[in-house]
Amino acid sequence: MLEKNRFCCSEFSCRRRLTSDSWRLKHPKLHHSKHLQVSFQKNLTICRAPHRIEHAQRREFNTNDDSVQVLDAIPNLDDGEHIADSESKLPPPLPRTRIYPCAGAPPTDFIAEPLECNIQWCLETNLQNNTYYLFVTREEYKYIQCGINKQGMKTYYDKVLKKENTVLRFPRFKNGHRVQKLVASIPNDQPLSEWELHTLKDMRWNDNHQCPVKHWSQAIIKTMRWLIRQPAYVEHLIFAPQLCVNCDRPLKHFCIEMHTADWW
């Protein structure tokens, strides 16, 4: 008779009775740090979320005529390197939105710099200056890039951890399972920022209650980063508008279409 343990996650209220041997993360919940810690202790693999996506093109309430299949989950950054080189070969996609004209309209006020064609320069610039950038370090960027290309954790280990001079140096592994365990054992930083009490000094409830309004909140940008970096989301990021450069001279920015008809 197997001993049954109850694993309770206080963050997401996962109160499912699961046996110690058959403990799996079958439910498509996001992988919390406690989930990763328990899965590492029990030597278990984390299952991905099941496929439940229907093509937005077949839905009745999708009023867009464009195909969603041309949009990648996250724009393939390897292809972005050849944007400048392939101007004469493959023209960038043109905006074809009818009901959301502002989504695909080229913003003429923003002229692209010639250096923006270099994807490495964009990465360095974003890491230094852009506070809204998704990745904090170069390792995170390459880790996600390997995940997008579906090359697996072993490829990530070979490319990032072994070939380059990074801080993380590990001995050689024969399979990717140990690498996955090792990466899972890396101490997880605080994914969500701590709650902070804010006070609206210039706002009062009413005439009878003159005390200032206080509310609790946490950083939105950190939360957004934590959400989009969830491994359960990798296969489901189907709406990813990407910033591109058109063929005009001077180069100008424009965003490919954002499908908003399937948000609700």
Partner: protein, 76 residues
Amino acid sequence: MLIDVYSMLRVGDTLVPLIFMSDRTHLSIFRGVKGEWPVYLTIGNPSSNIHQPPSIHSGVRVALLPIPPRTAIFLR
């Protein structure tokens, strides 16, 4: 603000639409009806089948808004 953010975007960057949700949550009935308005955040990049069901827990609480006290007219 939007112009400043847009000027920082580079080629190949992906926009992440943020969706905020809120609904009144009843906390307690002792010592007066206590409730708050939690604000949940999710991203619009996944399909609605993924980020909308409550069982997936894709909505993260980012703020707790208090309910204003009752006015003096009601107390009279």
